[in-house]
């Protein structure tokens, strides 16, 4: 250890290899963006512009339509169809709340309690997607049919008397009532609520529950003060993924509802495909879009989830 030798000269540092600056790489991000941008331009931006121009046109099928900047179409559409707008918002909100009430306990169970059943339950949640939306909704027609088991059971429990009094059902029928439409919406959009809820619940560190318990929080308090606030990103995205499509949906109202339960989606569909009043249909679409955008913006602001996500 104590023998002294001359320290060897330090190795000359290796010359860093000089590479010509790569110019091609600078454009790589743009190339990567291109397919997506093209897709959006062709299938989103252009139809929107086309739609916008349609909404301010006047004319008829025979004589053709011309852009006349006729904004009165918007006002006329709104004043004629505001009940359907309101109904859409109301049905969609009811379905969203039902989805949240049904979906949260399920997502919670999958995330924290399911153990080895986790994957099976997840598959069951997604399984309905293997069948078409339309067929599933038609199946509900059978389930809620006048002579079906649901009506029979509800009737013998006198639940229908209550829902009739509330105006949700009519007489001994469930089909062709608001209740049927809201149930259909809830059923069809439930997975869109469960999946984001599950994702955000699953991310919560289990030790936070333990820490809350250790700091004198009872299980319910732990849920209110820790679990629920931390799952807010999932609640927000789940409600958005449910509310937005539900508000514009027309299949459920068409198949499970009646003329009294028409939603704005049904009106737009009729205007476009049956009455062929394109300007009104386009104007209604824009009003719906603007209304949803305004509500969603307000909602996100209020729930203050920006710094949670």
């Amino acid at each position: 250890m104590s023998t002294l030798t001359e320290a060897p000269p330090p190795l000359a540092p290796a010359e860093p290899e000089k590479r010509p600056p790569r110019k091609r790489g600078r454009f790589t991000p743009y190339w990567l963006l291109l397919p997506g941008m093209l897709w959006l331009i062709v299938f989103f931006a252009l139809p929107m512009i086309y739609q916008a121009s349609t909404s301010v046109q006047q004319g008829s099928l025979e004589e053709g339509y011309k852009v006349t900047w006729h904004f009165a179409t918007y006002w006329n559409a709104l004043s004629e169809y505001w009940p359907q707008f309101l109904r859409s918002v109301f049905y969609a909100a009811a379905a969203t709340v039902l989805c949240l009430l049904l979906g949260y306990p399920l997502a919670y169970t999958i995330a924290f309690r399911a153990g080895r059943w986790k994957n099976l339950i997840m598959i069951l949640v997604i399984a309905p997607f293997f069948t078409s939306f339309l067929i599933r909704t038609l199946a509900w027609k059978t389930i809620l049919a006048d002579s079906g088991p649901v009506v029979h059971t509800l009737n013998s429990l006198h639940v229908l008397d209550l829902t009739d009094w509330l105006g949700w059902t009519a007489g001994d029928r469930v089909l062709a009532t608001p209740l049927a439409v809201v149930c259909g919406l809830t059923y069809n959009f439930l997975p869109f609520m469960i999946l984001p809820l599950y994702t955000s619940l699953e991310r919560i560190d289990g030790r936070l529950h333990e820490a809350a318990g250790d700091l004198y929080a009872k299980p319910w308090t732990t849920f209110r003060k820790v679990t629920f606030p931390l799952s807010m990103p999932g609640v927000v995205s789940g409600t958005l993924l449910t509310f937005i499509p539900a508000a514009g949906d027309y299949v459920n109202a068409e198949l499970l509802g009646s003329t009294d339960t028409r939603m704005i989606g049904n009106v737009i569909q009729t205007q476009f495909l049956r009455i062929l009043d394109y300007p009104t249909a386009a104007a209604l679409s824009f009003i719906l879009m603007a209304a949803i955008l305004a509500m969603v913006t307000f909602y996100i602001r209020r729930s203050g989830t920006e710094d949670l996500v």
Partner: protein
């Protein structure tokens, strides 16, 4: 802040065990931690130390036995009803609450309305007064750690449980926090139960250390006692380094036992032998590397009489500043570790040199030879 001792802060575990299916994480265990002490549970990962801590916290239900705090049986109380608080590994701070609210959490849950003064005082104690309105992720690891301690301590628990609280910190910060935690413990006088795999951490901070291995407590005692008088090979190897030599009992001579090892003789005080000895029986002889002196073979004559000696050849030497660590090839053990203080360095002590190792018999300890001689060596490396 110091509470008068009424033994209500004692932790008394009697016969507690934990099994998961066929795996026994903790074998029936009796343990009493006196009020106001700093107690460490030391062991490698999977030795049952964390499970024991979690049973005290109420996060794990014991398979058998009882947990008492003072005279109160808390075995079946849920965590939120126990007067204990935990500093979790990687802290488990609430990410959606700021530092102030994290610290106030326990007070608010117990219905205390005016928390401001207490929280501010507690944040001062851990030197985080300025950070009250920040979110946990905006703080450094060491600051988060102090928040976790403050969040637990503000509740004045009877016992504070610390689950590897310093594991995520770098070495320098860990040293600093060890002293800091020790200071806080002395200041508040609360019983601390500290789980760690770092033997140095346990020895610096704790008054009493329990070394755990395979779900059992191997040995319990003051750090110096554990280090100087290990009772098992696991403790001897896990706590620092030990040279263990297999030897045969030759004669018993008064208070000393004379042993034969590799052709030479070694003396072991009987009081320092934890194994039963019979003439002709086997014993493991242990000696700590820093207790050994190294003399070049040419000067073997200058070694005083009455010391244990072993001859050997230096296989390797590494200079680490305060000391030089030698590995010596001897007939009794081919990797004999010797640490020599760099006071007067003998230039001849280089690899290849013939040397005599010698030490006072009083520093020798004896262990039961039926044990695995390498127990605890790999665990430490893994931890």
């Amino acid at each position: 802040m110091k509470t008068t001792p009424d033994n209500s802060g004692d932790v008394r575990l009697s016969g507690i065990s934990k099994t998961y299916g066929s795996f026994t994480a903790v074998h029936p265990l009796d343990l009493t931690v006196p009020e106001g002490s700093f107690f460490a549970l030391l062991g490698a990962s999977g030795c049952g130390k964390t499970t024991t801590l979690r049973m005290i916290a109420g996060l794990e239900e014991p398979s058998s036995g009882t947990v008492r705090l003072g005279d109160q049986d808390v075995t079946h109380l849920p965590p939120y009803k126990r007067p204990v608080n935990t500093v979790f590994q990687s802290y488990a701070l609430f990410p959606h609450l700021d530092i102030f609210e994290n610290v106030a959490f326990g007070l608010r849950r117990r219905g205390i309305k005016s928390v401001k003064k207490q929280v501010e005082e507690m944040l001062e104690l851990v030197q985080l007064g300025e950070q009250a309105r920040k979110k946990p992720h905006q703080l450094s690891g060491g600051q988060q750690q102090r928040v976790a301690v403050a969040r637990a301590l503000i509740n004045h628990p009877k016992v504070l449980l610390l689950d590897e609280p310093l594991g995520a910190l770098d070495l320098k910060l860990r040293r600093q926090m060890q002293l800091e935690l020790k200071r806080i413990q002395t200041e508040v006088g609360i019983t601390f139960v500290h789980v760690t795999h770092d033997q140095e951490e346990a020895m610096t901070m704790a008054d009493t250390v329990a070394v755990m291995n395979g779900g059992r407590v191997e040995q319990l005692g003051a750090p110096t006692d554990l280090y100087e008088n290990p009772q098992t090979t696991f403790v001897a190897n896990f706590l620092g380094t030990s040279n263990l030599i297999e030897a045969e009992v030759d004669t018993e001579n008064g208070d000393d036992i004379v042993l034969k090892a590799g052709g030479g003789k070694l003396v072991l005080p009987e009081a320092r032998c934890s194994a039963p000895t019979t003439a002709g029986g086997k014993v493991l002889v242990g000696i700590r590397p820093e207790k050994i002196a190294l003399t070049h073979a040419d000067e073997a004559g200058s070694i005083p009489e009455g010391r244990n000696r072993v001859t050997g050849k230096i296989a390797d030497a590494s200079f680490i500043g305060v000391s030089t660590q030698y590995v010596i090839d001897t007939p009794v053990c081919d990797e004999f570790a010797v640490y020599v203080q760099n006071v007067e360095r003998d230039g001849r002590l280089v690899p290849g040199a013939d040397v005599v190792l010698h030490w006072s018999p009083a520093h020798t300890f004896g262990l039961d030879a039926a044990q695995d001689i390498d127990a605890g060596t790999e665990e430490e490396a893994a931890a």
